[in-house]
């Protein structure tokens, strides 16, 4: 049996830690959560020389071991708890060659825990651009470690790193700083009370504000003959510790690192001046947004049409192949159209995440956050709220969880309440299909009307979130204050591998996360649409034939009347007609009503539901778009999906709180039903009123 060792990848944010993780593990990785909390846990396996396997954990980015957020506490909890099954045999601290001084702080802290620690100096390919040279031998000697000079971009240094990891037993565990030197008397006393404990570990347990689960500071406080210091004294000692660490790092780097600014060929400052400019910064950002939405429309059309036609053909093929019966009907009229309603959107979702991932990888997203901070402050939010609002374009659930790093409770609560207005990827299928049906295909200045409409919907969502935040800031009587610090990473050419992995991971999450629900709902809807109670459903054929006996209808017309009559008196038809009076003023029929109700499970269910309802009983194997385009308004006549009802639907989905999972997360994050109930009531009423006004004005 081959030996397996635990390796913890640790480092400051933006040091390329994930790139090193990807380079080591390739596709042998999985993403989950830490037990009991919702911090993302990435782990993977890497084969090392001599048949050794490394189980690698990519820990959340942290600046130091002085935790101030849940993400950071995960790192400390792992490093302090030797009983944890993931406790590392070796820690690999990833640093950025351009920010070595700051990045080394956490390295010295981990080293002092006497865990074998390797230093990775990443982005080594940038050294020549920045005029940086390193004396690796000196650094290894002074830091008592082994160093791997890595460039994930140029695929350099990874094999050397693997070699160093496999020789982890040779790495020194000698500490960088004698922690007792910050207060000799205090630590002597501590040593006497806990003679068998590592001083630095004890010090971390005493000074952290976060509850560590198994690592309990109460055990320290409970010892009668040891009196710890007041919080203010402990903070002063922590500051002293940090100063001493930086003194040590400065001395090491004085000889180990040389920066010749005359050799630097830096474009960063020039780029920053333009991209974060008070006026041009916003213009460039909106131009990039326009480009993204235009590309989503122009590039995704061909694969989308192909998928749509393939699902229609698959239904037809199966219908011809299998004998008639309930299961064949379930497959061809329930499951396949329902799943087709989600798979069709994969190209557009993938393109959206491709662009978002490129913007993040290139370092531009941090500039957007900085830019938006100026706007957000006027509305009572800080730049930290921008991160959840932007990540809300993928899904509101992780975005709401991302608010955990906002220190001010008021800002955090407001961000939680307004984030669901941001256009999430689940709204995208609804928007795309409705826009394709009701917005003409013409162009304005080379940009299609459809792409402009989509961008407008994104801006409406973001604008509503910001305005709601302003109102909530005035209404909520909670006093608090917060500060915003954002790190501007260097501009980089996005790594192809990282971009592809992000796109695959996000698209997979979108398809499989919603896919299971859509599959289940499609099956239930098929049942509800294929069966019904009473005479009207069971004797539909006779009733229709008697009703239309005097009219000379063709067989096909008669069959259509029977299908329509059965659907209307099926379980779903009865339910739909019961809610129809409420939604009719918005321009919707009962079938759209059912789709709205079922999409409360997940917004993207809307398209799948309509596809299933329109398929049941129909012999024509049509594409989803054509089926929807062919629907006739039963009251007003003409297409059901026209400009007025289409805009009304788009606005309804832009504002309505149509997501059960988001409500559950808001409840969990606020520990109260008050806030999600308020959110549901206000957002849904607002959506109804806006959709009503839009339809009544445009019809």
């Amino acid at each position: 049996m081959s030996k397996q060792i635990n390796v913890a990848l640790i480092g400051n944010p933006n040091t390329g830690k994930t790139s090193v993780f990807n380079a080591l593990t390739g596709l042998n990785q999985k993403v989950g959560n830490y037990p009991g909390i919702t911090v993302e846990k990435k782990e993977g396996v890497c084969k090392l020389p001599r048949g050794v396997k490394a189980h690698i954990i990519d820990l959340p980015g942290t600046y130091s071991l002085n935790a101030s957020s849940l993400d950071e506490s995960v790192v400390i909890e792992l490093l302090l708890n030797q009983n944890n099954k993931d406790f590392p045999d070796i820690a690999v601290v990833v640093t950025d060659v351009e920010n070595l001084k700051r990045n080394l702080l956490i390295f010295t802290q981990i080293k002092d825990l006497q865990i074998p620690t390797i230093l990775v100096i990443n982005m080594a390919d940038r050294m020549s651009y920045k005029g940086i040279s390193l004396d690796i031998e000196h650094l290894e000697k002074e830091l008592q470690t082994k160093i791997a000079l890595v460039s994930t971009r140029k695929k350099q240094g990874i094999d050397e790193l693997k070699q160093l990891i496999s020789n982890y037993k040779d790495v020194s565990v000698k500490p960088c700083l004698d922690i007792a030197s910050i207060d000799v008397t205090y630590f002597e006393n501590l040593k006497k009370t806990f003679p068998n404990q590592l001083m630095y570990k004890l010090w971390l347990v005493i000074t952290q504000d976060v509850n560590f689960g198994k690592v309990d500071r109460n055990e320290v406080d409970a010892v009668a003959d040891f009196k710890t210091k007041t919080n203010a004294d402990l903070k002063r000692l922590q500051q002293k510790e940090t100063i001493k660490r930086y003194q040590f790092i400065n001395n090491v780097l004085k000889v180990g690192q040389t920066i010749d600014v005359t050799q630097a060929k830096d474009l960063r400052t020039k780029f920053d001046r333009i991209l974060t400019h008070k006026f041009w910064g916003y213009i460039i950002f909106f131009a990039i947004l326009l480009l993204i939405f235009q590309a989503i429309y122009d590039w995704a059309t061909v694969p989308m049409d192909f998928i749509d036609a393939s699902f229609a053909s698959l239904s037809e093929w199966l219908a011809n192949l299998l004998p008639d019966g309930a299961f064949t009907s379930l497959l061809t009229e329930g499951i396949i159209p329902g799943l087709g309603g989600i798979v069709i959107f994969i190209p557009q979702i993938a393109f959206l995440f491709l662009f978002i991932s490129i913007l993040e990888e290139s370092g531009y997203m941090s500039r957007v956050v900085f830019l938006m901070d100026r706007v957000m402050r006027r509305f009572g939010l800080s730049g930290k709220s921008v991160v959840p609002l932007i990540s809300g374009t993928a899904c509101a659930i992780p975005a709401i969880m991302a608010t955990r790093n906002i220190e001010s409770w008021k800002e955090r609560l407001i961000t939680i309440l307004v984030t669901p207005f941001t256009t999430c990827s689940a709204r995208l299928p609804v928007y795309l299909i409705i826009i394709a049906l009701v917005i003409p295909e013409g162009r304005f200045l080379g940009l299609s009307y459809q792409a402009l409409t989509l961008m407008l919907l994104y801006l409406i969502g973001f604008g509503t979130a910001v305005i709601s935040a302003y109102i909530l800031n005035k209404v909520l009587q909670i006093k608090s204050k917060s500060f915003f610090v954002v790190e501007m990473p260097n501009y980089k050419l996005p790594l192809f591998k990282n971009v592809v992995l992000t796109v695959v991971e996000k698209t997979k999450a979108f398809v499989f996360g919603a896919g299971k629900i859509i599959l289940a709902i499609s099956i239930v809807l098929w049942f509800l649409a294929s069966y019904g109670p009473g005479e009207q459903f069971n004797n539909a054929e006779e009733i229709v034939k008697t009703q239309f006996a005097s009219q000379n209808l063709s067989d096909e017309e008669l069959q259509n009347k029977i299908t329509s009559h059965k659907l209307e008196h099926s379980f779903i038809g009865i339910t739909g007609r019961a809610i129809e009076p409420v939604i009719r003023p918005l321009g919707y029929d009962w079938k759209i009503g059912i789709a709205i109700v079922s999409s409360f499970a997940a917004r993207e269910v809307f398209v799948g539901t309509l596809a299933t309802i329109y398929s049941v009983g129909s012999d024509d194997e049509e594409t989803i778009k054509n089926r929807m385009a062919g629907e006739v308004n039963p009251i007003l006549g003409g297409p059901l999906f026209n400009f007025a009802s289409g805009i009304s639907l788009l606005l309804f989905y832009a504002f309505a709180m149509q997501c059960m999972s988001t409500l559950a997360v808001v409840k969990r994050e606020t520990n109260s039903w008050k806030w999600p109930s308020l959110q549901l009531a206000l957002m849904s009423s607002f959506a109804y009123i806006v959709a009503l006004i839009a339809f009544q004005l445009l019809k």
Partner: protein, 44 residues
């Protein structure tokens, strides 16, 4: 595939789908040990 087999398969699928949806949306999960209340609990 005769009618009975078709019906068994179809209704089993419906049963499984209903069970999945109930489990997904109505099954009570164990509560986290600690979460924020109406006030700033300082856990972040």
């Amino acid at each position: 595939m005769n009618t009975i087999v078709q019906n068994i398969l179809a209704f089993s699928a419906v049963g499984l789908a209903v069970a999945f949806l109930i489990k997904k949306f109505f099954w009570k999960k164990s509560k986290p040990k600690k979460a924020c209340g109406n006030e700033d609990c300082g856990c972040h």
